[in-house]
Amino acid sequence: MCLAVPVLVVKRLDGDDAVIDAGGVRKQVSLALVPEAREGDYVIVHVGYAISRLDPDEALKTLALFAGMESAA
């Protein structure tokens, strides 16, 4: 149940809920634990609840790290 991939927040609904897109599959989840998430953000969802918002800048830094280009980030 930990095998979750990042999903795209497509539309915020009333309250804490939002529609997400997981590779073409749309589903309603709760953003109660990540209230700062906006439409267009990627979040990690577990058992119907987003638990973390992905930081694009940190992601780019990590990708640069893979290639051994720490200073490029």
């Binding site: 709760s30 634990l33 940190e58």
Partner: protein, 377 residues
């Protein structure tokens, strides 16, 4: 950026493999435990082991929530449905975990128990609202990732005055289990392996942050690198661990900085602290009784605690003698060391819990690597 394909790139994987090969010191071996079943799954699925030098060995840890649930707890869940007549709501992962007397939730359901698979604790709440004349119990399992949603469900039930909803709480804690693998005399007696460092949890750390690992990195002088669940994340973490070992460092480093902060998710942690408190001890399959390694529902919310409501008594049950799940969960054995692996025990007909969940080491080996596991060094 979709945060998936970029972190599975084959070209980058080869670059990382070269860098790891250059980093390892000749004549030295490196044994790293990936705590999480999610990492075990990624390592098996993407063949990460084949890209690592022979001197780097990945040891699989107990971080599979379904795998570590002891038989006695599944028996309790079955009794809630069969003897107490409750509607038992459960995540799908637990349905086929073997219980006592060759039973399981799936078999109990076939025998007439009202057991319903749910995707989320919120679904269990909805079922309770729709069935006011029935007792509805949510079978809550999992590490720190699934605990906050359970807390939200209990608080929502209280707000709504839902009198027929309760939770059978089996939530467990990651740092306690890692410390236990390193120090428990009981685990030492039943056999474990010397480790040089840990690949730290991805999603668990989203919730609890990197800070909780600092104590044992220092106390046990073992490096920890928190890593995402994609194959390149695991390889980068291995490189960082090799460098720490070479330098004689034992720090907590965070490879998964795109999702994990030092503090974690404050809102989630506050909800968990409001509803749950530490249990003095909890039995883990494979590790035995582990002190302060699990949560129970606070007295303040006792009316939502299925254990109190139905007078549940826990009775420990020994695993099947032929099954090596216990030793595999401690990293002391590998799936192929088990005599029944892939013969009597398969994902279609699992004998042990490690073959049930997709995060289990045996299921990962069976699905992706059973014919190509290299000989144990």
């Amino acid at each position: 950026m979709k945060y998936v394909d970029e972190f599975r790139d084959g070209q980058l994987a080869r670059i990382l493999a070269d860098r790891i090969a250059q980093a390892v010191e000749p004549g030295r071996t490196y044994r790293f435990m990936e705590f999480c079943g999610g990492h075990t799954h990624a390592i098996s699925r993407y063949g990460v082991t084949d890209l690592l030098p022979a001197s780097v060995e990945m040891v699989h840890g107990p971080g599979c929530p379904v795998c570590v649930l002891p038989i006695g707890r599944i028996d309790n869940a079955i009794a809630l449905a069969l003897e107490h007549g409750a509607i038992l709501c459960t995540y799908a992962d637990t349905m086929r975990v073997p219980a006592s007397e060759r039973s399981s939730l799936t078999k109990a359901k076939a025998a007439g128990a009202d057991i319903r698979m749910v995707y989320s604790a919120a679904d269990a709440l909805r079922i309770a609202r729709e069935n006011p004349a029935r007792e509805v119990v949510f079978f809550a399992i999992g590490f720190e990732t699934t605990t906050p949603p359970t807390a939200i469900a209990i608080l929502a039930a209280e707000r709504a005055g839902l009198a027929n909803f309760s939770v059978f709480c089996n939530h467990v804690l990651t740092p306690a289990a890692i410390a236990n693998i390193l120090e428990s005399p009981q685990v030492r007696d039943i056999g474990t392996v010397p480790l040089d460092g840990f690949v730290g949890p991805a999603h668990v750390s989203c919730v609890i942050g990197s800070q909780p690992y600092e104590f044992f990195a220092e106390e046990y002088a073992k490096p920890v690198v928190i890593a995402g669940f994609e194959p390149l994340d695991v390889m980068q973490a291995v490189l960082m661990l090799v460098e720490q070992v070479n330098d004689g460092r034992h720090e907590v480093e965070n490879e998964f900085s795109r999702a994990v902060t030092r503090e974690g998710n404050g809102k989630a942690k506050a909800l968990v602290a409001e509803v749950f408190e530490l249990r003095r001890s909890f039995e883990w399959r494979g590790l035995g009784e582990v002190p302060y390694s699990a949560l129970r529902i606070k007295t303040k919310y006792a009316r939502f605690d299925a254990e109190k409501r139905f007078g549940i008594v826990y009775r420990a049950v020994a695993d099947n003698k032929a099954c090596e799940c216990g030793a595999i969960l401690r990293g002391a054995k590998r799936p192929k060391d088990c005599k029944v692996f892939g013969t009597v025990c398969t994902p279609e007909n699992p004998l042990g819990s490690c073959m049930v969940s997709s995060e289990g080491a045996c299921a990962a080996y069976y699905t992706y690597g059973r014919f190509r596991d290299r000989e144990a060094a």
